[in-house]
Symmetry: C2
Subunit: 339 residues, 2 copies
DNA sequence: TTGTAGGCGTTATCAT
DNA sequence: ATGATAACGCCTACAA
């Protein structure tokens, strides 16, 4: 038989008390008779009482929930979300995750939806389509706490947690150079995204440091996508300036590149080197296994969560923080050429 | 400057109307002067009014949100969740996803948390640890709508959507037999899970149909886990009864098995065949590419979502449905031995 | 230490 | 067609 969940009213009635007393007992406020409190807690336990979060949130104008908006849930991002989750849990917050599926429209809709009193604030990584930040301006006006991570939003006043992408591009490229590769191509991702540009910058920096002249023909901007990478690599390999190594700014692209390389019958790492980015677990399973730049994804997420909580609790004193975490290189067979 | 979001009160005041009139206009109920309505909608638009969901849910005792509880978010399950999402969206529902991380404790906690008026019901796939279903009994008593999918809960009265796992085990095994393999081993997953047993049953059925006698020594029960599968395979390969083919009931296990096979220097598919389960995209990238049983994951999720909505709307007439969807085999190099 | 009463934003019932 | 009012479950001055 259908039984409605118990409320503080029910408890109050059974114990001949007022709802306020019950409310107080349940919330551990002082000023309450220990015995009364014991009785209330016992009955609550017995009835399996659970406070109605809607009512509580409505009253307190606070939901203890963080809205997390991400472009997708690939390996790296879902690890970051786990980090956010952990930080949230420690502070008694819940996390709601929404995927924008890389679509600007869905990003806007999701933000608006969640804003309808469902969340206290946002932790965001933007979609690759997102150029305008109008929908976030609304948040700023209402002083809704917000932290951006991974892919940051240009020109927005908010704390951010990101990877040192330039460093990532740098160490990958320098490693290839140290392994004796000289004509290093880069599959550099969409130009619209900041992470692409930073990794590209790191690539250039490494070349410069080692006095290798930069050749624009070895640069391909393409989508974060295995197929694109495959075709781009095919083209590179059959061009006159055939590279002797490829640095791709994502692992998916690295896989695409590897397929094209195998197709062409080139030996890896002897004839051509390869380094990816993200260090997805499957990379170790390929033959040859693929080197990659690893992000501290979990830590990035956790830090974003912590900063959010911190700023949420200190609404008055909320200075903007910019955390930049360091990547590290994971060297495997695809780039290990003993010289 | 901080500005509180507008409410129907604000609109009512500005237009010198009562809140009830405003509420009606906003909800498209009849009995309202078209012009009044137009005015209200205009102002609402101008103020960027968004109804407060908390208040609405509290009043209506309905949140239009489905709680989805899953053991993890691997490829198959996250595809299923996308299916649920689509069905929910079509019906104006929102989805909240919680991972139990294969932990019984977290499953219980998550269920209780969400139950605190956050969701109208649940769509659930249990964790591998879950044996008791006490925490779901509470839901049943309160007549909270619930649909189970993928991994179902034993002895519970609820609609379910699952794959025909026995059929999956059958077609994988029969395919190997047709390719001339005769000593077919199975890495069969934890015994606690229904899906393990069903796939195992399908395996046995195929052997029987083709008059191959079942050999218990070719059966290994192990965790859904690449490393376990690796070691299990190593053992199988060095035993006297070395199998000439392996059917693993997950792709992760197939990868583990393949690594062990490569380690041993066996040729695939000539000397040993391999078929996995789930058809994760990366399987096509290995050399040799790995055959696998494919589930209609998206469809399973979408159907679970649809059934949920249906039953939620027809609370009176809610008979229990059991949908079983068919798998299909995806044949690749690892099992293609031309005979 | 406990109780009373008002209100969070919305919807629903009953008048007008 | 519109308005007044109570209620959803909870919290919190304020009063007792």
């Amino acid at each position: 038989m259908q039984s409605k969940p118990p409320t503080i009213k029910d408890i109050a009635k059974k114990l001949h008390l007022s709802v306020s007393t019950v409310s107080r007992a349940l919330r551990n406020v002082p000023d309450i008779n220990p015995e009364t409190k014991r009785n209330i807690l016992e009955l609550a336990e017995e009835l399996n009482y659970q406070p109605n979060k809607l009512a509580r949130s409505l009253r307190q104008n606070q939901t203890n929930t963080i809205g997390v908006i991400v472009p997708n849930l690939d390996y790296v991002i879902s690890t970051m979300v786990k980090g956010i989750d952990e930080a949230a849990l420690e502070a008694g917050f819940t996390v709601i995750v929404c995927q924008s599926n890389e679509s600007f429209g869905r990003e806007v809709v999701n933000t608006r939806r969640m804003l309808n009193s469902l969340v206290d604030g946002f932790i965001i990584s933007i979609s690759s389509e997102t150029k305008s930040n109008e929908h976030f301006k609304v948040l700023q006006e209402r002083e809704i706490p917000m932290v951006v991570f991974d892919r940051v939003i240009p020109d927005i006043l908010a704390s951010s947690v990101i990877l040192d992408n330039e460093e990532g591009g740098f160490i990958a490229t320098e490693h290839l150079i140290e392994q004796g590769y000289r004509k290093i191509a880069i599959l550099a991702g969409p130009k619209t995204l900041g992470i692409s540009n930073s990794r590209f910058k790191g690539y250039q920096k490494a070349l410069k440091k080692h006095n290798i002249k930069f050749d624009p023909e070895l640069v391909v901007h393409c989508d974060f996508n295995q197929d694109f990478a495959f075709f781009a690599t095919e083209e590179l390999l059959s061009s006159k300036k055939r590279p002797d190594a490829i640095f791709t700014i994502s692992d998916r692209m690295a896989i695409g590149a590897m397929l094209a390389i195998k197709n062409k019958g080139l030996k890896m790492p002897e004839e051509i080197g390869l380094v990816g980015f993200n260090n997805e677990p499957s990379l170790a399973l390929f033959t040859p296994s693929i080197s990659s730049v690893e992000q501290p994804s979990f830590e990035i997420g956790k830090m974003a969560g912590k900063i959010f909580i911190e700023q949420f609790l200190n609404t008055s004193f909320s200075d903007i923080r910019e955390e930049v975490l360091k990547p590290k290189l994971c060297i495997r067979e695809s780039s290990m050429r003993k010289i």
